[in-house]
């Protein structure tokens, strides 16, 4: 899994390329923690992420909790399978998914 980060002022776009599973989630978590400071708008671009497991959801939840304090967070371009996961777990209610 690769993470492409684009920082425009206080807006951070993290494009996740590849599967987000138990083994790759810590990588995302680390990348998030490195870059999230001072970010007011966090965007996860999931166009290239076909899969997420609960480990991935955990990172999204952690990000959401951080962003609730310092700005906003949204998820874009989630594929159908990932969307289903968000919906089943109620994450679609707490995360802004566009």
């Amino acid at each position: 899994m690769d993470i492409i980060k684009e920082l425009n002022g206080s807006e951070l776009v993290m494009k996740i390329c590849g599967r987000l599973d138990t083994n790759s989630a810590p990588q995302l978590e680390q990348a998030l923690m490195e870059s999230v400071e001072g970010v007011e708008s966090l965007v996860f671009d999931l166009a290239e992420m076909p899969y997420t497991s609960s480990a991935g959801l955990r990172v999204f939840l952690k990000a959401q909790k951080i962003m609730n304090k310092q700005g906003s967070m949204k998820v874009i371009n989630a594929c159908e399978d990932v969307m289903e996961v968000f919906e089943i777990t109620g994450f679609s209610d707490i995360i802004d998914i566009q």
């Binding site: 599973d21 083994n23 076909p50 497991s53 959401q64 289903e84 089943i88 777990t89 209610d93």
Partner: protein, 680 residues
Amino acid sequence: MKKLKKINVVKTSLSFNIIAALMVLLVVFSSVITVIGYMSFNNSLQDDYDETTTGIAKTAATLVNGDHIDDYLNGKYQQEYDSSLQRMNNLCESMGVSIIYVIKPDTSDFRHFTSVFNSVNRVKTDYEPWKIGTVRETTNDEYVNAYRDLYDNKDVKSIFRRSQLNGAPPHITSLIAIRNSEDTETTAILCVQRPMSAIANTRSSYLISVAVSVVITVVLAAYLAVSYLNKQFIKPIEQIIGETERYAKENTVTKCTDLSDISKIHEIAALASGISKMEKDNYEYIESIKQITSEKERIGTELSVASKIQLGSIPSKFPAFPDRSEFDIYALMTPAKEVGGDFYDFFMTDEDHLALVIADVSGKGIPAALFMMVTKMLVKEVCTISGGSPSEIIDFVNDRICERNTEDMFVTIWFGILELSTGKITCVNAGHEDPVIGKSDKSYEVIKNKHSLAVGALEGIHYRSYEMHLEKGDKLFLYTDGVPEANNEHNELFGMDRMLQVLNETVGQSPEAVLKHVKDKVNEFAGAAPQFDDLTMLCLEYAGGENLNNKLHIQAERDNLDEVTAFLENYLEGIGCSMKAQTQIILAVEEIFINIASYAYEQTGYADLRLSCDADTVTIIIEDNGIEYNPLKKQDPDITLAAEDRKIGGLGIYMTKKLMDDVIYTYDDGKNILKLIKKY
């Protein structure tokens, strides 16, 4: 028993025969002595009698005047005649003869004679004396001839009448010629007849005394001989027979009769001591045979146990890997003796690698078997414990074996590791027969490669490895030289060509059928020839590494997640599962697998995945041996809470339940078994 009976017959007839023969011999001998003695006694007695009688005749002849014979017959000189007759009668009586008579034979034929004097002893005989002038006829030729001889002036022997003749008892008659005074002419014949009763009496008393002494001698000699023979010959023989019978019955030497001093006869003593020695030797021999036999039995039992241990040490349960669908394997080992120096082995080194070994130790029997066990253990233990490439493994095994190879034995090994997912075999050939591969669409072919030295031959050498590839449906045939070098009664070898030909007859058959066919053909070829070498074969059929993989035994660790995912993708793509269902299944399995990896074991353990499908559903069974835990009992998370209140735990199980069509948990035989069912 038949033998003993025979001995019995000999026993009775022996003493009887000896005594009887002895008696007969003594009787014959004494009879001969008696007869000879009697004959010489009789002869001398007769000579003596003859002489005496002739003397009497001569004396009587002096009483007769030969010149007056005719005158007496004519009645002249009556006084002289009477005086002569009187003196003759006196002589007759005093000498004890029967008759003295003077006759004048008729000289024309001597068959008639005229009596001149006739003096009869009344005591000895009751003859009526002939009157002078009485003419009698002589019928007996002996007398006729005697008369003629006397008239021819020849000497005449006395005539013996031994039996009764015309009523006369046995007697002797001495004849003498009466001559005229000028001694020119025989004028008459004087005969003296003397009875033989005296001689007969002497003879019979002689006979009786001889007979009595012979009988006494014979009886005495027989008694002495019998008692001597009995003591020195028959008794010892009987004792020997008794001892041999006892020995034959009891077969012991403890109650052995002492035969050493049994007889003074050298031969019997030698026979007795010979029998004694033979019994002792025989007994010792039997004892030693018994010992050898029991030793042999013990060795036989140990060998059969050894044989079981040896056969038990190599995998012999087939199918050996019922849960592996990538290959089918079968192997056979038939040692030429109870235990052999060949072996085969196969074992999984990990989920994707199967190690294959076939080897042949130099020599046969127990030494080869011991060497074989050591080699077999080393190869497997090195392979499973320290691992490494086939060449590294054989290098290590070789060094270990060379270290203490006191008997300079060696072992040829073909060792290969098959990567099940790809069909690649990395192998080392330490002086072993080249493997044979049967391509699914072609005939069997020997895969030749340069061999390395046999293991155990030289320490510190490095073995080269090479690669072979199996495609789906290919068969690998491994064997020892017992197959191509099996020989028949004509000392012909089975040979590689025949082996390949026989293998080619098995196209499409299972490894088990292939090996049984080869074995049958080898046996058929060998016929009555004894199996000379161990016969060991292994056959593997490779069913291909892809698409069929439906089982996974894997250590439950987070790092192995990719492998689990790859395993699932591989299978699900193979069955044509939709992408959406695939993702959902992979997600569910990840959640369960990570759960097991994180919580099931205190240290670490394994998880087993089994996949199966039918027309529209796929079933995933996930097992672990960890602590009992039913994930379905966990309370579902509240998914309506705000982000700040959300907890992350329980989401995985919750998703699994939501994404799968059915999730069933059971705990059985120490295993957590979770069954996921999903329509695809």
